[in-house]
Symmetry: C2
Subunit: 372 residues, 2 copies
DNA sequence: ACCGAAGATTTGATCGTTCAAACTTTCCGC
DNA sequence: GCGGAAAGTTTGAACGATCAAATCTTCGGT
């Protein structure tokens, strides 16, 4: 084979012009049926495929979305980005888009990459993850009018409804509320919460889910349940120590809802070691670890998050990135995804008699997924 | 600003021609110093950046490497690809290359994607992961002369030295041997091995590491130590059941080396529940979970793997993908990376008296990394 | 001071596609 | 069967860069 076929080769073979071939590919509805069929068979006979770079040059579209890969995949929770990325790649492909990765040291460096990639016409849009208070990246992208969607709300600003700040997020509050209600439904009353120190948008939001569930079930207000809550930094060992301390101090808890699987794992280790093999623990994120150790958790439905991302970026079914500020008047500029409970052994095993050396329930139960 | 500047704008500003600007960018050594400086300042004044697609069209190079994102990030071990991807992206960027993702349902689908991406001139090369016996993907790529590097040896074929089959891999045998020797050095004798069923290249290789360490320390041959080995499918629960069974049957073991962190985690859960809080367990992969629960493990050194990948693809310092079959006569067509022990609590804690309700060693020790 | 080669710079063509406008054919009503 | 709009197709130009070859400069040797 000498060389890859071009539109001209196809055109010649089908006895039509370049442009007709191009039309068959890009707007088949304006080509007469007979012609179209002739061109299509020429295409498949020659195995023609459009040259991506040539097309991009001409159309001034890269059909590419840039995503920063976080510096360190943040421990256990790192797999969230991983799974999101997978869903995003898959769905982007269906719309003729591709995902390009880049890395950056910090936020300033990330913005430099934005600039480079934008100026080099390498990407049409960006997807941001790990947003925080007054995120400078969002400010830059909005100011420069570069299309983007944030996975994570732009917490703290009044910009939650700003049409220039598109975001998708998981409703952490609803997720934690569902988990808490699940435990309430199983008859538990004194349900504790293990979360992060106040001040992070995500953390405060999740905690609110627990508070509202407790409030609507028992009529307690947040202040009343505050003594059931524990704060600690993210991480298995920190959570473990915190719960060990709690156990030692004789706290009277029946169950525990946690802000993350890492915290829940630490908590599980602590309560199991403390001789409480059936103390229910709930995590959040549904990481592979949760699945591995049988930890009940809240699944973020990352496929839905990915779908929402692309919807905001390209419209419901579009195949190109919309200019920023675009969007129908009545279309919300964000998507809040309701997560899903995944109930596993850690929260629903009935106490059983322990027999020497083995653990209760040493068979992995079929995983129950309960959508609500 | 009306529009992005082009070479012509820069040329005009610097009072030179297009091509000189291009030369300043691509082969500065052939441009006279005075001219070069003039052009460079014009470039920075205008904030010019070459248009990636235009360059790709003309040079017929996409400067892009395609990587398939696995369908399901395989549980706990999924983060390996994640971390490898990060290192690869970072190092590729330094050589002016980018990483593009794609997903596929199965191997056949993956090959179709190869074809699409190749024909569309979207990528210059591919990186394969999760190679297996007589991998059809490798056959296809080699036959079609598409540049690629496999992360993972093309097990089983005699092609390990085939110059058309480039690969990088982690020396699992050496890693497991190091782990075993570490335990031997701590005075253990009856060290068991928990691995996967025979037949997978990676699994057999890792087991051999344990066998050789045992052989050279105690003069035993593989047949003699076979009763210290246990086989089970990958996964935390399977490993847990296997080790529970082992404990119940009264096996006389002092320590355990495992083929993966998942297996090790299951094993740890089993031995801890069996009332053996200080039974040493070693994992493999150094996943975030290992770090989280204090499991000693073997780190794959993914940054070195990524560096090896690019070296094979582009030469020691090159900035473009080499044609397949190229490479200096004396240059090996593969890289075998020696992993690194990461010793944590799970393998080196001294027994301590248990006090009611708390666990021994409830402080996370500073992580020791021991390179060998 | 002249010649030729090496060095530096410019010019024209090209990569493969799509846009915009021109051109040709089809179809309908009168 | 004619005019004209609509539908279908073709042509020339352009996207922004680099390649290849042509041209212009510089410089050492005689």
């Amino acid at each position: 084979m000498a060389q890859l076929p071009t539109v001209d080769d196809v055109a010649q073979r089908a006895g039509v012009s370049r442009q007709t071939v191009s039309n068959v590919l890009n707007s088949p509805e304006i080509v007469r049926e007979a012609t179209r069929l002739r061109v299509e068979s020429a295409i498949s006979e020659l195995g023609y495929r459009p040259h991506a770079s040539a097309r991009r040059l001409r159309t001034r579209q890269s059909s590419t979305i840039g995503v920063r890969l976080d510096p360190i995949s943040n421990g256990i929770s790192g797999s969230i980005l991983d799974r999101y990325l997978h869903a995003l790649t898959e769905q982007a492909d269906e719309r003729g888009m591709r995902i390009m990765l880049f890395t950056a040291q910090d936020e300033a460096d990330e913005i430099e990459h934005y600039e480079r990639l934008r100026d080099g016409a390498d990407v049409d849009a960006f997807v941001l993850t790990g947003t925080r208070y007054d995120d400078p990246r969002i400010e830059w992208l909005a100011r420069e009018r570069v299309p983007f969607v944030a996975f994570g709300r732009p917490w703290g600003s009044e910009n939650l409804e700003d049409p220039d700040r598109l975001w998708v997020d998981v409703d952490g509050q609803a997720g934690v509320r569902m988990a808490t209600e699940h435990l309430i439904g199983r008859g538990h009353r004194r349900i504790g919460y293990l979360g992060w120190p106040a001040g992070s948008g995500t953390g405060d939001d999740r905690r609110r889910g627990w508070e509202t569930a407790m409030a609507s079930a028992f009529g307690s207000d947040p202040a009343e349940v505050a003594d059931l809550a524990t704060e600690t930094d993210e991480g298995v060992p920190t959570a473990r120590r915190a719960i060990e301390e709690l156990v030692r101090s004789g706290a009277d808890l029946e169950a525990l809802v946690c802000a993350s699987d890492s915290l829940a794992l630490g908590a599980m280790m602590a309560v199991r070691e403390a001789g409480l093999p059936h103390f229910p623990v709930f995590g959040f994120d549904n990481t592979p670890v949760a699945q591995a150790v049988g930890l009940s958790s809240v699944d973020q439905r990352l496929a839905d998050v990915a779908a929402g991302t692309l919807e905001l970026l390209m419209g419901a079914t579009g195949r190109r990135v919309l200019p920023p500020g675009y969007a129908a008047r009545d279309d919300p500029r964000h998507r809040l995804i309701t997560p899903q409970l995944v109930v596993r052994r850690s929260s629903h095993l009935e106490p059983v008699e322990e027999a020497g050396g083995t653990m209760p329930g040493n068979r992995e139960p079929t995983e129950k997924e309960q959508s609500t």
